[in-house]
């Protein structure tokens, strides 16, 4: 009976595949290929953008530090201007303005620091 059953199963008729199946498979293969190409293109574009961004990145200028030498030049010029103002007997207002400008220039030349800290060494 076992053989009879096996024969029965073996003799079951082959079923023809539907005609529309091959075009469906072709379409599916094309879609998968297209999707894969799109993914590869996207990945390449992303890598390229990353690379270009790194290579062509414009260096951000660092914040300009005050130039002590420039401050000294200003200070010397203000000293000459003050001397000249005294020499010619300039008005008090002009001399006061020059002193205020000199005080401001002097502040720029001094390094930042803790001015309240006690002086330990001269």
């Amino acid at each position: 009976m076992s053989e009879r059953l096996d024969d029965y199963l073996r003799d079951l008729p082959a079923v023809p595949a539907p005609d529309m199946l091959w075009p469906r498979i072709q379409h599916h293969l094309r879609e998968r290929r297209r999707r894969r190409r799109r993914l590869i293109a996207l990945a390449s574009a992303a890598s390229l953008a990353l690379w270009v961004g790194q290579v062509w990145r414009v260096p951000t200028p660092a914040p300009a530090a005050p130039d002590p030498a420039a401050g000294m030049v200003d200070l010397r010029a203000l000293d000459h201007a003050l001397q000249a103002a005294y020499d010619r007997g300039a008005a008090d207002a002009e001399i006061d303005a020059l002193w205020r400008a000199r005080a401001a220039a002097l502040q720029q030349t001094e390094p930042e620091g803790d001015f309240d800290a006690p002086i330990l060494r001269l």
């Binding site: 009976m1 059953l5 096996d6 199963l9 008729p13 595949a17 091959w22 469906r24 498979i25 293969l29």
Partner: protein
Amino acid sequence: MADMQASGFAVELDALTLARAQRADAAARECIYRLYADAAYSLALRLTGRPADAEDVVQEGFVKAFERIGSYRGEAPFGAWLKRLMVNAAIDRLRHERRWPADPDAVEGLPVTTHAAEARIDALGLLARLSPAARSVVWLHQMEGYSHPEIAAMFGHSESWSKSLLARSLDRLREWLQAEDKPR
């Protein structure tokens, strides 16, 4: 060309067609499809029990085959290699669809009522009366030569589940076969 004496998955594929298909030649791919399509569809229908599912399985099986054909080195005959892909695609589909009933030990399937389902019976014969799990186990073991450990691994069950379901399904099939043989 192919060996026309053999049939189904036993048809041999010639080396030239295989080489062309491995270079993604469309005509060679179609030739391979024509050689094995009926065998693939019959197998898929016997495992899934539903024409729509069988079509999906054949599609998935051939798509995988053409995507992996470059790595086929001829260790097994091409038909056997393709059949393995079809079986795996069918089992994957059955598992994803959770076609196993609440009782995975059930031998008999639901009664057939529609006209389309009656047409399906001609291709499946008495197998159509079995539950999806029982039908797959019977076909894989009796016709495709799969062992119980292999079947158990494919379905995520134990070997004893596979043995028990097979024994009870074969008993039932024999009963039905005997009943059909009796004069009416």
